[in-house]
Symmetry: C2
Subunit: 358 residues, 2 copies
């Protein structure tokens, strides 16, 4: 039976990425060698790295003065790299989920942290209103998480603030156009809309760097990776190769505008069914706050005892990875760029079928 | 023509690793999904991580009280993680090459660094004699690099020192038995004898941790990764999968004792030819210091002008990656575990043929 991959991450990638990566592991760029065993200093791999960086710039319309770096360690390592590089005395954080909270915790090791707003009071099921106006003007930067994978909330508007802006866009990068010029740093683990796990991207405004007084360990200094073209040390070659394939696919499919159109179609469909079907309800009520990438829902109040039944039924229909995070419960359908509309249709059909049967 | 992969890293891996990784990218563990798009929290991937850690322990005979972690970021990130976790006031470093020097430089950000000995005076072409006796007894740890990839020197004896011992074994791990009980931390980038680039291993003695006073960023604290079973955040899944394949291959081939036997055969053969052939000379004179993993040689004094000729000739015979590092010049043949003896034979044949032609 056709499998529908709703994993939250690592998650579905285009067949183009999967096939080309498998092929390159058998024969990379006609070298007769595997992508797994080729020097990162070879001209063939250098071309991969260069093209991947260039395509990120092209697809996101990155202005001059910014560099794209690929490093290891995940977004979790960025949680300390950001304050290492930017925090002199004080930073502001928006607490909209577990990852936002973890980022904030790391920053507190480096200076004072102002919590601009939090939605922890209601299991992070909403985005605090009017947070932009609450960002102090005397902080070194303001950090927020654009999409909260676990809770299914998303901030799609590039915030208007008067201080340097930093965003963790791990789980919604490339799902819509963004105004990069508003940001000092945009970073993210690549294992959602971009690449196999193992590589992290950062889009860094160069003149935001070099303003802190502390010594920065070499590998945690963005300048190391900018100066080294993300080749200061051996990069995660397979993941970067996978990123390049997805970027090529993205471009061929119409870029981030087309991804936004598809994300709207897919998420509107699924939220509509959740709202209509008496057996289910969305965990995020405010339509404006609802993520287009991670759609969280639970059984409606009268049908709580049917949760396992629906889980089993959905599995029997080919749905994979729809179990909600333990802190939210219920279900989560992650609808990243590579998820075809037919998978959303299949999930909706399963929900309708379940409604009919009960 | 058959290619002979002498790259210094990323470098040749067993065909078993290459084939199984390519297969898993098309269908991972019978899930019908790609290894690139499966959750690291799936039971199928959890089994990969668990088995990889267990096999490292088994193959290196790791005693109780140690844990194996897999993280991202490369050995270069370990250069700061080691002092972050272990350096209170003073550490001792042995400077035997560029990587040793980089590790030492990072430590200096955290406390006093005693340089026990250095071979920088002669482009790191030897291992300083008697360094063990020179390690101060009042340091928090002594750090050395067991194999110097660029210069082709190697310290194969586990040093006897009276302080906690830390080794970067990036490029010779799994090439011989080691006495892990002598070490507090053994770490390395995995992209030589273990895995595709993107994952770093560390074998950590648990009671060596928790003795420093500074706050440690979460991702740089070994305890985070020990407690999280290397799943605190999303691991570099493909590289860990590749590591598991190589570990299985290693075990099936006879383990590290057999790898040592093969390394002796291969390196003895090649050094013998270098020493015999009047056109070439080894850059490391002392036989005891010569690496079994990276065999560096240059044209002999009377034949300097033939360097390009030999390079072109060797390439025409299928040799790949034998150009020496720019700081040493000449040639470097990396003879890692997965390099078959026939590749060494082919290189030797090319050297003999070159001798005959000139």
């Amino acid at each position: 039976m056709k499998k529908h991959n709703f994993y939250a991450g690592p998650s579905i990638l285009p067949q183009y990425t999967i096939k080309n990566t498998a092929d390159a592991i058998l024969d990379f760029a006609g070298t007769g060698l595997s992508l797994l065993e080729i020097s990162h200093r070879s001209k063939e791999f250098q071309a991969v790295m260069d093209e991947a960086q260039a395509l990120v710039k092209e697809l996101l319309d990155v202005p001059a003065g910014y560099e794209v770096v690929f490093v290891g360690g995940g977004a979790s390592l960025q949680f300390c790299m950001v304050p290492f590089n930017l925090l002199n005395t004080k930073a502001a954080y928006l607490k909209t989920g577990v990852w936002a909270k973890k980022a904030q915790k790391e920053a507190a090791m480096f200076g004072e942290v102002v919590e601009v707003a939090s939605s922890e009071d209601k299991t992070f099921c909403y985005i605090p209103k009017g947070f932009e106006a609450k960002v102090p003007t005397d902080v070194d930067y303001f950090h927020y998480t654009s999409n909260n994978t676990i809770y299914g909330t998303e901030i799609r508007k590039d915030p208007d603030v008067k201080v340097p802006l930093v965003a963790d866009m791990s789980s919604d990068i490339f799902s819509r156009p963004i105004d990069v010029s508003k940001y000092s740093i945009i970073y993210g683990g690549a294992q959602k809309n971009l690449a196999p796990a193992g590589v992290t991207f950062a889009i860094v405004k160069q003149d935001a760097l070099g303003k802190v007084n502390r010594p920065i360990p070499t590998m945690l200094d963005y300048r190391t990776h900018i100066d080294g073209g993300s080749m200061f040390n051996t990069p995660p070659c397979v993941s970067v190769y996978g990123a390049l394939q997805t970027l090529k696919w993205l471009k061929a499919e119409g870029g981030v505008k087309e991804m936004e159109r598809r994300a709207i179609v897919k998420s509107d469909k699924l939220y509509s069914e959740i709202d209509r079907n008496p057996f289910f309800k969305a965990t995020v009520e405010d339509h404006e706050d609802r993520s287009r990438m991670n759609i969280c829902f639970v059984m409606n109040d009268n049908y709580k005892e049917l949760e396992n039944d629906f889980m089993e039924f959905a599995k029997s229909q080919g749905m994979i990875g729809i179990k909600g995070h333990r802190s939210v419960g219920g279900f989560r359908a992650s609808t990243y760029n590579a998820l075809p509309e037919e998978s959303v249709d299949a999930l909706i059909a399963a929900m309708k079928e379940f409604e009919k049967k009960h």
